[in-house]
């Protein structure tokens, strides 16, 4: 992987110049030649994304797409170099500089998406776009993985072709994309494999794009329904003594809207002043929100995220769980763990899906524990102890205890790890947020409406 992959281009340019000179002697226009050799004189314009390489975690470039002149995939060697330096996949720097290119990458679904740029471009622009690409894949294929991309090369390629034109995003709204390329579904896959057709929509030539960029025109449903999930995630850092270092609530409203025609919805909250910060789907009329604190929007068809909000550390944030923990490493070479979890400030709701993850110090060999409920597992490679607790019964608090063995001869770690806790509480928004009304204008029918509240642990850490 070492070597200087970009060097050949130097030679190439040199060769190119020689050829050019040679042709000048022959008084033949060298223009044609100059074009078949890439990366040379005419690429002076500013541009955004040149190429995209998709790389799996074992370092195979399994897909490449070029929007402009082809960039040899050896440019990825710089990326691999940075990857080798990084201690974990997450630690690969998002922007890497190489002599002639800039590599901007994201890591999602165990895949690296590496965009190659040649000149100044806002890095967030590229990063955000790459994430949007992954979101689109997930939207189309329900998931995104190496296998799925490989199975759908053709659709993936067409999507990339439509999403980016000359390195600049063209159509990223799923509504327009789905007009252009039909997403695969199981039924169609079966039909296609029988009839030998692909996923390109054959009925494409409707040629209709609605005047609302995010919504298709001519949507029809027999059952009109709109579901709203208010999901709140509690981010918190709790220190060793149980004190709160920081806590805030990140909430979002995810919708599944299946409504005929061009419905215009308004949603109002019982207590809209509690938001510290909000961001909206482009469909939300911002001015109306500013003035009246009412969400007024023509929804996209299908599922989308309507808004996300932050209720910050200024407000008192309820912490629904606490931990009593005791982890002690004796210098003799073994440790003791005793951990009890309990509910707190849950307004009578039950804590469900409780899970605890403890990244143990590297010297830990294994753990011998007994848990009063749920199962635990220790992965000796990643040194992570997982405890799947399940529900917490306030009468009988879950507890796990036992010994931790340390490698022979290694000194006991000085510091204790942190607990990452996850949980869900259904039918409750921990901030107390409530939707008060949901009205539909512009269409005659009465839709079925539903609002659901869920509280989850976000980045919830307890320091031991």
């Amino acid at each position: 992987m070492s070597g200087k992959p970009d060097q050949p281009k130097h030679h190439l340019m040199h060769v190119h110049l020689i050829i050019k000179e040679y042709f000048l002697h022959l008084s033949v226009s060298p223009e044609r030649i100059s074009f078949s050799i890439r990366g040379c004189p005419y690429e002076n314009s500013l541009d955004m994304i040149h190429s995209l390489f998709v790389i799996n975690s074992s370092g195979d470039v399994f897909m490449e797409k070029h929007w402009k002149a082809v960039i040899p995939r050896s440019v990825c060697d710089y990326f691999f170099e940075a990857q080798n330096k990084a201690s974990s996949m997450d630690d690969v720097p998002p922007v890497i500089e190489t002599p002639h290119h800039y590599l901007i990458s994201i890591y999602r679904c165990n895949i690296f998406f590496v965009a190659v740029c040649k000149s100044e471009v806002p890095p967030l622009f590229v990063i955000e776009f790459l994430h949007r690409v992954v979101d689109t894949f997930r939207d189309y294929f329900n998931d995104c993985s190496e296998t799925i991309i490989k199975e759908n090369y053709v659709v993936v390629y067409e999507l990339l072709d439509e999403m980016l034109d000359n390195g600049f995003p063209l159509a990223t709204e799923s509504n327009i994309l789905k007009e252009l390329i039909k997403p695969p579904n199981i039924l169609r896959t079966v039909v296609n494999s029988v009839t030998g057709k692909s996923n390109v929509s054959e009925t494409l030539p409707t040629g209709q794009l609605s005047n609302v960029p995010w919504r298709r025109s001519g949507v029809k449903y027999t059952n009109n329904e709109a579901y709203f999930d208010v999901i709140e995630e509690v981010d918190a850092i709790i220190d060793t003594s149980g004190g709160m270092v920081s806590a805030e609530i990140h909430g979002y409203i995810d919708c599944v809207v299946k409504l005929t025609g061009m419905p215009d919805l308004t949603m109002s909250f019982m207590n809209p002043r509690m938001f510290d910060d909000t961001s909206f789907h482009p469909c939300v009329r911002f001015k109306r929100w500013e003035a009246e604190k009412i969400l007024s929007f023509i929804p996209p068809d299908g599922s989308f995220r309507l808004m996300s909000y932050l209720i910050g550390s200024q407000n008192a944030v309820a912490i629904p769980v606490y931990a009593r923990h005791n982890l002690y490493f004796s210098p003799a070479g073994h440790g003791k763990l005793d951990l009890t979890l309990g509910p707190k400030q849950t307004m009578g709701r039950q804590l469900e899906n409780v899970k605890v993850e403890i990244p143990m110090p590297k010297v830990v060999l294994n753990c011998t524990l007994t848990s009063s409920q749920g199962k635990y597992a220790f992965d000796p490679v990643s040194k992570v102890l997982n405890w799947d607790v399940g529900k917490i019964d306030p009468q009988k608090l879950p507890n796990i205890r036992g010994t931790i063995n340390i490698q022979n001869g290694a000194t006991a770690p000085e510091s204790n790890p942190t607990l990452n806790v996850s949980f869900t509480i259904t039918q409750m928004a921990v901030s107390g947020l409530k939707v008060s009304r949901l009205d539909l204008y512009g269409e005659k029918y009465k839709p079925f409406k539903g609002v659901k509240y869920i509280t989850k642990a976000g980045r919830f850490q307890i320091r031991m």
């Binding site: 992987m1 992959p5 044609r32 074009f35 050799i37 005419y42 690429e43 314009s45 195979d60 399994f62 897909m63 490449e64 402009k68 082809v70 040899p72 995939r73 050896s74 720097p93 500089e97 800039y102 890591y107 740029c117 000149s119 100044e120 806002p122 890095p123 622009f125 990063i127 955000e128 776009f129 490989k150 090369y153 053709v154 993936v156 072709d161 000359n166 600049f168 063209l170 030998g196 054959e202 494409l204 030539p205 040629g207 794009l209 960029p213 270092v245 920081s246 805030e248 215009d264 510290d276 909206f280 911002f286 200024q314 000085e414 510091s415 942190t418 990452n420 980045r459 850490q461 320091r463």
Partner: protein, 1092 residues
């Protein structure tokens, strides 16, 4: 080239290739499975398909054979086979394999009717066209056809692919396509056209001027879908032409909220630059004040508290007197602020940098919350945002905006290391006496974390806090000393280095610390730490007179095995000890210097040689001045190292840019211009009211009406986007003007002058009695509409009058047609359903309108009298028919050429039932027959008119004339000059249109005139005779300009005749979209002009 890339690909380890090919084979079970139906052929294919898995070299060897199969499939006439082949080829392309030798076979299929195949061919074509230019050219005509497709999506994709083919030869074609698409009725196509502009520009920079014209036009577009891409094209092609923005500035600001996300980023980027060049620095006064204050602090002693108070009052007064912010500058912030709420991180970042670089300091505050929100996003986004915050917090002035969010930067053990380090940097930047307690407690918990890098960064952060915040210096130092007994070497080493720095900036006598550090020499191995310890001992050797020589002794022992860094410091120590305590140390020093003299490292050798002289002067130089001052040289008090943020120097780069992130100047990075000292004329941004029927302004006007239509239709279903936003806009506008009014009347007056429309209409809506909400909105909406570009009063008047005029004008056929095309177009472009026509074609109308406004039908200058024989009595035995082109319009259809037939019965029998029989027209042509003549007596002559639509070709119209049951075949051959009709237009428009029709659309004919014709009058006459044109006034004496429109397609025909009296040369230039028309006219006119 392909070989080369193949070669390079092989350079990467073979193992990964094996795997990727293997995966490729495994990943396409669906495709191979579906081929089994094709019999034995597919069996072969499968085998070959799997073959590459055995190695890249075999792939190359077998490549030819394998592609043979695909070629066969592509050549078959079954769509399913072709599709299958195309899919596999795309698989190859996606995996980065070379599929270029299939190019000819693939390109053939570009004409495929099957849209799936077509799309895949497009994908392939864009990838390989550059390499196979000749073959690629074959596909061009298909794209040209697709550009005229009724479906906007097909037009758009044709343009996208056509412009992606990087072949210089097609530059003129691309130019033409872009020009056409830029005025397409579909916004999506116009957007694609905007995208195509940079592509063409990168292919052929010479086209810049022409492209700038198109960009200018697109910038005027009011569709939110288009403006983003238009600005993108502007940024890539002509960012220096800032004057193009003036007129559009307010419009862009008003539309910004509704533009699609990526466009927003580009527009904000451009507006940042615009603001930096067009507006005054809003903080200019501040800096002055700050400076004065600091100087006051410096000079004035603290005794005069009250004087300070008065001065701060003065300061307040000064602030108020600071130059007022341009209302447009204000508008910029008002319209970008909602974007901080965007779901798209790059939009938020772009807005944040706009505020950071152009807003008054007090207002930058608002971006903090939004940036903090982004921290919850993906780690890549976090990294970039933290980077920006780190540099924003690195200067003390902007610090306080992030202070309330300190807790958001607390490190989580699950963060990736680079994020942790950035967070630590920010926390350190934010640290002050007030919050240092919390911060140190946090630091304490980080030190026990398991991440080595994080620990090191934390220790350094503690050091920085200690040196900047006096209150905690001792606490920190103690803490760090405590860390010296940590079990982890890395921690100890880092602490040593930090303590070394701290000691320098401390004045106290830290004997114990130094002693403690000296003890570490035995145990610690990290070179940086050892070097630091040795340096400290040397520097403070007088404080620990017993220990220092001992350390030197130890170092001398291990000298040979030390790293250069440590060796250098050992030399320093030796020298310093020699100077202070020569008795005890001279011998050891000599030993060390001797060792260093023969060191491997040249730096060490050089240093040793240089330093040696000070302690062991060569004989005769003992009293050298330098030597006498040695102590001053080596033991002078050194200034403590400045501890400041690493991010400070990034301020020079634009926030959020690639250069900023990497802290190097990236390719193509352009510095933000600094604010001008004197504000450029702000009236440039006023859009002046229309007086003359300027076609472009008119179209704006038209668009506006469209957009009201838009919002009204929305308004029915609740409240529309634009109306709600505009009402908000207006209210905030008026409130802001109220806010500002307390600074004195002057400001409101300026505001009024600048945006007269807004304020006036606002006043009205305020005065209006409280109506219900809807009405309020609609009124403010209209006010916004009018204020946004032109002054409202004159506008409102032009509206109804324009509307009133239309029915009157609509009498002529031409206008009727044009008006029709505004609604669902009549012919030629049969694509639009009324609904999309209404919503998505706001600029189609202006186009048609443009023409209709400035191009009107003109008088016919010459009526030909010459008739041509169609049928002679010799062949018919009596009936003789001649025809003449009348050049008068036909009521039946304006596409038809009015031909007068003169029928005469020259025989001696009566002819009955004379009429037109069977017609054998070429496709696209049509004929309107004359009503049959019942009978014609011998000698009688009848004159009838027929209308023929020649479809702008010179093909003859074949039909038969029937008389008395006998059928005579005739062919009526048109003359090109008669297939056009005169229109009038101003010269400016003529030149503009001519500019558009260059290249292939221009034909030139040179005529040498006979003496008799060699004057402009005759030429004019001859041209009028030959072609049915109207003259356009020409500003050049020797040039005549004529214009006409073809009857059928209604395309312009521009004729420019340049007469050169020397040699009686006449140069005729014909510009017409239809190349044939130009060349035919040239031939005809040449004949006419050469005859006397």
């Amino acid at each position: 080239m392909s070989k080369l890339s193949g070669g390079m690909a092989q350079a990467s380890p073979n193992a990964s290739y094996h795997q990727s090919y293997g995966d490729g084979g495994a990943a396409s079970p669906a495709s191979t499975g579906s081929t089994t139906g094709f019999g034995s052929q597919s069996g072969v294919m499968e085998a070959v398909e799997m073959d590459p898995a055995s190695g890249a070299s075999i792939f190359h060897a077998d490549g030819f054979k394998k592609h043979e199969d695909l070629k066969q499939m592509l050549d078959s006439n079954k769509d399913s086979l072709k599709l299958e082949a195309m899919k596999r080829i795309i698989h190859m392309v996606a995996r980065g394999k070379d599929a270029s030798d299939l190019f000819p076979a693939v390109v053939k299929n570009v004409v495929s009717k099957n849209i799936e195949i077509k799309k895949l061919v497009y994908v392939y074509l864009t990838r390989y066209a550059e390499e196979q230019q000749d073959v690629a050219l074959l596909s061009i005509s298909t794209f040209q056809r697709a550009l005229k497709d009724p479906n906007q999506l097909i037009r758009a994709s044709a343009l996208r692919v056509l412009s992606s083919i990087r072949v210089t030869m097609i530059v003129p074609i691309m130019m033409l396509a872009i020009r056409d698409s830029a005025v397409d009725m579909s916004a999506f196509v116009r957007k694609t056209a905007a995208h195509a502009i940079p592509k063409l520009y990168s292919l052929d920079p010479d086209q810049k001027d022409e492209l700038v014209n198109i960009i200018e036009k697109l910038l005027g577009d009011r569709t939110t879908l288009v403006v983003g891409s238009a600005v993108m094209a502007f940024e890539e092609v002509c960012p220096e032409r800032i004057e193009l923005i003036h007129k559009n500035f307010r419009k862009l600001c008003n539309l910004l909220v509704d533009v699609e996300e990526w466009g927003q980023v580009v527009i904000i980027g451009m507006l940042t630059r615009y603001a930096r060049t067009q507006f005054l620095d809003p903080n200019a006064g501040d800096e002055l004040d700050e400076f004065e204050e600091s100087s006051r602090d410096f000079y004035a002693s603290s005794e005069e508290e009250d004087r300070k108070k008065t001065s701060s009052n003065q300061e307040g007064a000064k602030k108020r007197s600071r130059p007022k912010m341009d209302p447009d500058h204000r508008l910029l912030f008002r319209s970008t602020k909602p974007l901080l709420q965007s779901r798209n991180a790059s939009v938020v970042m772009a807005t944040a940098q706009l505020y950071h670089h152009t807003a008054p300091k007090a207002e930058v505050q608002v971006v903090a919350k939004a940036l903090i929100r982004l921290l919850r996003s993906h780690k890549e986004i976090q990294a970039v945002v933290l980077n920006c915050i780190a540099s924003m917090t690195s200067t003390k002035t902007r610090n306080n905006m992030f202070e309330p969010h300190l807790r958001n930067f607390f490190v989580r053990s699950s963060d990736p290391t680079h994020i942790k380090i950035l967070k630590l940097e920010i926390i350190t930047n934010l640290a002050n006496a007030g919050n240092i307690g919390i911060i140190l407690r946090e630091f304490q918990s980080y030190i026990t974390s398991q991440d080595k890098f994080c620990i090191a960064a934390t220790i350094q952060a503690i050091g920085r806090c200690a040196s900047t915040i006096d209150e905690v210096t001792d606490t920190c130092l103690n803490g760090l000393v405590h860390l010296l007994s940590n079990r982890d070497q890395a921690v100890v080493a880092e602490s040593v280095v930090v303590i070394k720095k701290l000691l320098q900036s401390q004045t106290g006598d830290h004997k114990e610390i130094i002693t403690h550090m000296a003890k570490l020499v035995d145990s610690i191995q990290v070179p940086a730490a050892r070097a630091a310890i040795v340096w400290v001992l040397g520097e403070y050797c007088e404080r620990v007179p017993k220990i220092a020589p001992d350390v030197l002794r130890k170092m001398a022992k291990s000298f040979v095995n030390e790293t250069p860094e440590v060796k250098t410091q050992t030399l320093n120590l030796a020298l310093k000890l020699c100077l202070t305590n020569p008795g005890q140390t001279k011998l050891i020093a000599q030993y060390v210097f001797n060792l260093a003299r023969y060191d491997q490292n040249y730096d060490i050798r050089d240093r040793a040689r240089f330093m040696r002289v000070f302690v062991f002067p060569p004989p005769g130089h003992e009293t050298n001045k330098l030597l006498l001052n040695a102590k001053n040289i080596f033991l002078a008090t050194k200034p403590p190292p400045v501890t400041e943020s690493k991010f400070k120097d990034r301020e020079v780069y634009q926030l959020g840019s690639l250069s900023h992130f990497l802290n190097i100047r990236a390719n193509g990075y352009q510095d933000l211009p600094s604010f001008p000292d004197v504000a450029p004329d702000s009236s440039l941004r006023n859009v002046e009211p229309i007086k003359v029927p300027n076609p472009w302004e008119k179209s704006l006007d038209k668009l506006k009406k469209k957009s009201t239509f838009y919002s009204e239709s929305d308004g029915e279903s609740g409240t529309s986007d634009s109306s709600s936003s505009s009402s908000g806009n207006n209210s905030s506008e008026s409130s802001s003007s109220e806010d500002e009014s307390d600074h004195g009347d002057a400001s409101t007056r300026t505001l009024k002058q600048a945006i007269p429309a807004t304020t006036i209409v606002n006043g009205e809506s305020k005065k209006a009695p409280k109506k219900d909400e809807e009405e309020m909105e609609s009124s403010s909406e209209s006010s916004d509409e009018s204020s946004s570009s032109e002054s409202s009063s004159s506008e409102d008047e032009t509206y109804p009058s324009a509307r009133g005029n239309r029915p009157a004008v609509a009498q002529s056929n031409l206008d009727l047609l044009l008006d029709l095309s505004e609604a669902p177009p009549a012919s030629g472009t049969p694509m639009l359903t009324p609904s999309i026509g209404g919503f998505l074609s706001p600029s189609n109308a202006p186009n048609a309108k443009t023409l209709s406004e400035s191009i009107s039908e003109a008088e016919v200058n010459f009526y030909p009298t010459k008739s041509h024989q169609l049928l002679s009595k010799m062949s018919t035995g009596g009936l003789q028919v001649s025809y003449r082109f009348t050049r008068s319009s036909l009521l039946y259809s304006s596409c038809m050429c009015n031909v007068e037939l003169t029928l005469s019965n020259l025989g001696d029998a009566e002819l009955i039932d004379v009429k037109i029989g069977a017609k054998q027209m070429a496709p696209g042509m049509s004929l309107k027959e004359f009503p049959g003549i019942a009978s014609m007596d011998p000698g009688q002559t009848a004159v009838v008119n027929v209308g023929i639509d020649f479809n702008d070709t010179t093909q003859g119209a074949k039909f038969s004339l029937v008389a008395s049951g006998r059928c005579f075949q005739v062919t009526l051959n048109p003359i090109m000059g008669e297939l056009v009709k005169p229109v009038s237009m101003p010269e400016g428009l003529f030149n503009l249109e001519q500019g558009k029709l260059k290249g292939m659309n221009e034909t030139e004919t040179k005529v040498t005139l006979p003496e008799a014709n060699a004057n402009l009058e005759t030429i004019k006459k001859k041209i009028f005779e030959g072609v049915n044109v109207a003259q356009v006034p020409s500003s050049e004496d020797d040039t005549l300009k004529f214009v006409a429109k073809t009857l059928s397609a209604q395309v312009l025909v521009l004729i420019r005749a340049k007469f050169n009296p020397e040699g009686n040369h006449l140069r005729l230039n014909f510009n017409c979209e239809k190349i044939v028309v130009g060349s035919m006219l040239g031939k005809e006119l040449k004949v006419a002009l050469e005859s006397t």
